[in-house]
Symmetry: C2
Subunit: 158 residues, 2 copies
DNA sequence: CCGAACCTGGACATGTAATATCCGGATTAT
DNA sequence: ATAATCCGGATATTACATGTCCAGGTTCGG
């Protein structure tokens, strides 16, 4: 099981947007340069965050992205779900109904199978943990130097 | 993010092995027939469980697989980790050190980045949940009818 | 002792999802 | 008007999971 790199990208981008105190939108090109990422593809990921309501975008010259809400109101779960999709990692394909199970009456499969239940339970724990952490928590947890360096860099590259 | 189907396969196979009270090993062919799965590939996944110490295998005619330990001593985490790999789903590639970060002194990156910390925390919650559930728990949670049907079927196919 | 049933592991083929690029269209600042 | 920028469709590339095949060992039963 592996999360796409896109999650790391979008999380870092949100963190960066939180550090910049300006109200100016930040372009894909600048964010891509900040982390040395492919601009066109990063833009696609940022677009999904816009559709998810995490970021807002302004078109046109001097346009770009900014947080759609204050960092206290953005959870990591939202960012991760927007980037990776909201589906469960464990997908039950009901193999219990195949093969030997095929000859059993349908009503025996009404209840969710114990495996799915167990896996769901674990995934909910994961989601709960991500939902409990906001972008503001991360901004607070990061060393102040990191935020300053970032602001400096954005000042310099304009 | 998505778990491979192999996880569903191996979990169901372990559950089945737990239901059968016999001490006889069960062949890949029979397990594959039970769930209508490709035998050769299922065999590969079972092999990884053997390497992980979850199952034990007997070669030769009338050989096959059985649980390496009593179900109380096998956690879902072990089965999942054996099948999917023990690595974290979130892989930090340290993009904070690329681009803008490249000009910063190395000592600023000693501490794990806040994003990695947060993601690890969520994953540990997931793992803890899986580790807290044993195969015995699942055997107990499943309807008795399911266990009986399985035993009947294995009796019939020999 | 032989053949059939089985596991083991390597090599290889296939399929699918993530990553990445490119382009045309729309919008906005200068 | 021009340049900068977002948007989204089409397409290419890559990585990984899935799946097949085969040659080499074991073990059982006759």
């Amino acid at each position: 099981m592996r999360l796409g790199e896109g999650v790391e990208w979008t999380l870092h981008c949100c963190l960066t947007l939180g550090w910049l105190e300006t109200d100016e939108p930040v372009s894909t090109a600048k964010l891509a340069a900040t982390f040395d990422l492919p601009p066109a593809y990063l833009n696609k990921r940022l677009q999904t965050l816009v559709r998810a309501g995490v970021l807002s975008s302004t078109p046109g010259a001097r346009g770009g992205f900014r947080l759609a809400r204050p960092p206290e109101k953005i959870t990591l779960m939202e960012i991760v779900a927007a980037t990776e999709g909201a589906e469960y990692a464990f997908r039950c394909t009901e193999i219990r109904q195949k093969g030997a199970g095929a000859e059993r009456p349908a009503h025996e499969f009404q209840r969710q199978c114990v495996i799915t239940t167990a896996m769901r339970k674990a995934e909910l724990a994961w989601r709960r943990e991500l939902a409990s952490q906001t972008l503001a928590d991360m901004l607070a947890a990061a060393p102040v130097a990191a935020a300053e360096r970032t602001r400096d860099w954005f000042d310099r590259v304009g």
